[in-house]
């Protein structure tokens, strides 16, 4: 696949590849702003596990965090997700593009 890849975002893809993190991100999007505690309440994983995943998402720029008193509140960073969605669309299209080229060549001849 690397052949057709332009400018991948390793941290983002790695962060999204994990099903638990993906689910956590969806839960956070629904909550709007959440803490490790509110997220753990809705997910089948412990609060420390939530924190671990939030660190990965934060590092990838997929969530932002702010401190409010003793809590750290997280939210999804939409711009980063949109950018990633655009990149993935381009990458997933690699085979469609190749098959279109194959089709054109076959039908020309």
């Amino acid at each position: 696949m690397t052949a057709a890849v332009a400018d991948p975002e390793p941290a983002v893809f790695a962060a999204l590849a994990d099903p638990t993190r993906w689910r956590l991100l969806g839960t956070l999007a629904r909550q709007g702003e959440g803490t490790a505690t509110t997220l753990a309440a809705e997910l089948p994983i412990s609060r420390p596990a939530v924190i671990k995943h939030l660190v990965v998402l934060d590092r990838a720029g997929l969530v932002t965090r702010r401190r409010a008193g003793r809590e750290v509140r997280y939210r999804v960073e939409p711009a980063r997700l949109e950018q990633t969605a655009r990149q993935i669309a381009g990458l997933a299209a690699a085979w469609d593009t190749r098959l279109a080229a194959l089709k054109a060549l076959a039908e020309d001849g």
């Binding site: 991948p8 590849a17 993906w22 689910r23 702003e33 949109e82 993935i88 997933a92 085979w95």
Partner: protein, 154 residues
Amino acid sequence: MTAETDRIESDVLIAAPVERVWALITRADHLGRWFGNAGAEVDLRPGGALSLRWSDFGTFHGRVEAVEPPHRVAYRWLSRRESREEPTPANSTLIEFTLAAEGDGTRVAVVESGFDALDVDTEERAAALASHTSGWTSELGELADYAAQVPAAR
């Protein structure tokens, strides 16, 4: 939610006979035009060597895994550019083409699989992961839209 991470599938209906399409997916002069864009070499027998060249990405090597004319051919290609290692599940993915007559044309299905078993560096792994199904893309887009609607502060 989330997605299949191990494989990517696609197919296309081509208005040409199976034999012609078979030639296009197994002959080096053709592979070097629609798959690579700067040439290819292929020794079309199980275990035979495969090379695909791109003018802007360089050369990717691989191996022919299966040849069943004119309906199925499978190649394994190395994820690392210019690598000439022996292809294994840890360093390569499997590409399988299946051809079937459909009306006057040919249905070509391609499955590229083995992304989960890749043991390559982060960037290459990311590139491989990026070939998630397109369904994943729309879900990401929906999630982004959803997240954007939520007020910035409460």
